[in-house]
């Protein structure tokens, strides 16, 4: 390999960098670790086979998320709705990883998240957790920006309802982080 990194090596490096977030998104979508890992594998194979169509330097993260999301919905269409477990499996599976999701609060939150409609869940996850802008999320989901915004609003309303909290002034378990976040955003 010369001084210029091959396109292939760059592709792989970018892919690896995105995997943790892609996997977190897959867990959010499917609600289980097993299905999420299958889904990530499918998406990686597909992305790999299409790497010629990816332009290095463009948004690899959005590209991968789009592939994974398409894969998820095409599997759902094939298998019916069984992919999206209602309650139960999510938290049951997550309890296998006790060191990660330690707090009861987080488990409650996850099970509430899993009760949302898929379109609402993916919208709130993409924008509030994966770090995409409204525009990017709309592109990934193939819908209008306004649709993403209204899905997020509905998701938040439903989550507040499920968790029995009122959004304003409730900053969850760590007010310090909330303060840091508010500060960073306004800075």
């Amino acid at each position: 390999m010369g001084e210029i990194e091959s396109q292939q090596a760059q592709f792989k490096r970018e892919l690896l960098k995105t995997l943790p977030s892609l996997r977190a998104f897959a867990i959010s979508l499917t609600g289980t670790y097993d299905k999420a890992d299958d889904l990530v594998q499918e998406a990686v194979v597909r992305a790999w086979s299409r790497q010629d169509s990816f332009e290095i330097g463009t948004n690899m993260k959005a590209w991968l998320f789009t592939i994974l999301r398409n894969e998820f919905y095409s599997q759902m269409r094939k298998r019916g709705r069984e992919i999206s477990d209602a309650e139960g499996t999510y938290t049951a599976q997550l309890s296998v990883h006790p060191n990660q999701i330690g707090s009861l609060d987080m488990k409650d939150f996850m099970s509430a998240l899993n009760k949302l409609a898929e379109d609402q869940r993916e919208a709130i996850v993409l924008v509030c957790a994966s770090g995409f802008s409204y525009e990017e999320a709309a592109h990934i989901c193939g819908c209008a920006v306004g649709t993403i915004k209204s899905r997020i609003n509905r998701a938040r309303g439903r989550l507040q309802e499920l968790l029995g909290i009122n959004g304003e002034g409730d900053f969850g378990p760590d007010p310090h982080i909330a303060a840091v976040l508010r500060h960073s955003v306004s800075a």
Binding site: R23, S49, I124, A129, E136, D170, D174, V180, R182
Partner: protein, 75 residues
């Protein structure tokens, strides 16, 4: 277990500075969601996934470079 998003270098560079748009951040829901997501990200990449990447890499090298054509892209 508490992950400060600001210091989260592990998961790579985030888009949008890693923060949701200003009008959604002021909310306990968004913060908990971020916390959950960060903890999932920080679990690392499972071995089977890393093995898959190695295998893809090897297959490609065996073919003498170029993307595998086994998988047909979907529209």
């Amino acid at each position: 277990m508490m992950n400060k998003p600001v210091a989260d270098k592990k998961s790579g560079k985030r888009l949008n500075g890693g923060f949701p748009p200003a009008d959604v951040v002021q909310d306990g829901i968004a913060l908990r969601l971020r916390e959950l997501y960060s903890s999932l990200e920080n679990e690392g990449i499972p071995d089977n996934l890393l093995h898959l990447l190695e295998k893809l890499d090897e297959a490609e090298r065996a073919q003498g470079g170029g993307a595998s054509t086994a998988e047909q892209p979907e529209a």
